[in-house]
């Protein structure tokens, strides 16, 4: 088994053994979305206008919540340090970890989104754009978020700090992700938005692993 698939296999197995850790961000996603009709208005006319934004912001926040556990467990039992000093490629390690994290968070959020979109009266013609933009956008969120998680893994109150570090970097993804869904609502072609989201994902995939590895080495050293 190659190193990459070994890391992927290990992380997925660990995640599946702690099923409640997967459910929590999804439940948070649902609850946050449910708050908006209660706070704003339950009218379909109002909700359908703000639905793209609500779903995307909720996905963002749910991803942030799940990031805290990305490196924490390995850091606390010392296995992270072992992985970092091993002769294996750090880039593969980080990509493997982020991929398994995304499969258990962003990916599931994207799949769950149509159900919640129904509750927000999002027009069905926008569903493709919704799921597509989330599938393309959440990997970027996981990659950028992993940088924040790596920087704060050694700190005790890392949770809120990750949000502050990472949210400004999330804004472009949010703008184009929600924009794609809005375009879908209006029936306008979404290819441009999807291409931009895809480009951001590729860009972060190329450069984030190095930043994550450097941040991890820094956190271990302290």
């Amino acid at each position: 088994m190659s190193f990459f698939s070994a890391i992927l296999h290990r992380d997925l197995l660990l995640a599946l053994r702690n099923r409640n850790e997967i459910i929590n961000p999804l439940a948070f996603f649902m609850i946050v979305i449910a708050l908006f009709p209660l706070a704003v208005s339950p009218e379909a006319t109002v909700l359908s206008k703000i639905a793209p934004g609500i779903i995307w912001v909720a996905a963002l926040l749910a991803t942030l919540l799940s990031l805290d556990s990305l490196f924490k467990n390995d850091f606390e039992d010392g296995s992270l340090e072992q992985l970092l000093v091993s002769p294996q490629s750090l880039v593969l390690l980080t990509i493997g970890k982020v991929l398994s994290h995304w499969l258990m968070s962003g990916f599931l959020l994207a799949l769950l989104s149509p159900l919640l979109a129904i509750m927000l009266f999002l027009p069905t013609q926008a569903f493709g754009a919704l799921v597509g933009s989330l599938l393309l956008g959440t990997p970027t969120l996981s990659l950028i978020g992993a940088i924040g998680a790596a920087l704060t893994v050694g700190l005790r109150k890392g949770g809120v700090l990750i949000s502050l570090l990472v949210l400004p970097l999330y804004i472009p993804v949010l703008i184009f992700g929600a924009g794609a869904v809005q375009a879908g609502v209006m029936g306008v072609p979404i290819a441009g938005y999807m291409a931009l989201l895809g480009a951001m994902m590729v860009f972060s995939l190329m450069f984030a692993p190095f930043a994550i590895a450097a941040a991890l080495k820094l956190s271990i050293r302290n």
């Binding site: 409640n20 439940a27 649902m30 449910a34 209660l38 339950p42 509750m119």
Partner: protein
């Protein structure tokens, strides 16, 4: 202040006694549930008259209303069991509460799903933020929170206590949530539909409904006792009576 409870109450505190009693009751509940549910469904689907306004889609009522009733009763049972566990320090009570949570959550899911599906031909939309559906949704979130709390604790006793506290807080909150959601709903007055408040149902309709409610209660009782028994085995697995059972199974 010492309250004197009947003898069987204190006997239930013994895991083995509870295990045995529940084992005895299980087949009865299973048979009752099977009979009542089958009879109720056949009656409701075939032998109840169609509704004057809704036609045949109203037949969803026979699985929707019982699940909503159960969803709420289960939460109350869970909270009371947790309270008994805390006050009388009874492990069995906590186990009953823990076992009730996923069943109650399932009932809430059924109520929400069937309610939404019923809404489509009745109101024209798969989902509406009406007071009852919204209260049910919040109830589901409460259930999910309690289940998450149980699994977050490694020490089972601490988990029991924490979940019992949360369940009691939730119980107190339910009337508040219901009231505020009703108030919020009357503020907005969505004009596209009217709540299907059936003022009086003819007996041809509420009789099968009653049968279904009883059937659901029996099924719930069966599931609760079955789950509780397994949890009892797991928690008492070092004790003599459990090892006897294990050796019998081998």
């Amino acid at each position: 202040m010492k309250i004197n409870m009947p003898r069987w109450f204190y006997q239930l505190a013994s895991p083995k006694w509870s295990y045995d009693i529940m084992g005895m009751l299980l087949p009865w509940f299973a048979v009752a549930a099977g009979l009542l549910l089958t009879a109720g469904i056949i009656w409701g689907l075939m032998f109840a008259p169609p509704d004057y306004q809704q036609g045949n889609s109203y037949r969803i009522i026979f699985i929707h209303v019982p699940s909503a009733i159960l969803a709420q009763s289960c939460f109350m049972l869970m909270a009371v069991a947790g309270l008994i566990g805390m006050v009388w320090k009874m492990k069995v009570a906590h186990i009953v509460a823990k076992s009730a949570a996923p069943i109650g959550a399932s009932m809430t899911v059924i109520a929400l799903a069937t309610g939404a599906i019923w809404g489509k031909p009745t109101w024209g939309a798969w989902w509406v933020w009406d007071a009852r559906l919204t209260s049910m949704l919040i109830l589901l979130f409460l259930y999910m929170g309690i289940m998450a709390l149980y699994s977050a604790f490694e020490n089972k006793a601490s988990g029991d206590q924490a979940a019992a506290i949360l369940a009691l807080v939730g119980l107190v909150n339910i009337p508040i949530i219901k009231y505020s959601v009703e108030w919020w709903n009357t503020l907005h007055q969505p004009a596209t539909f009217t709540l299907t408040k059936k003022p009086a149902m003819p007996p041809e309709m509420w009789l099968p409904l009653l049968v279904m409610v009883l059937g659901y209660y029996c099924f719930f009782g069966f599931l609760l006792m079955a789950r509780t028994r397994i949890e009892l085995l797991e928690r008492e697995n070092k004790s003599g009576w459990v090892t006897t059972i294990i050796n019998e199974q081998l």
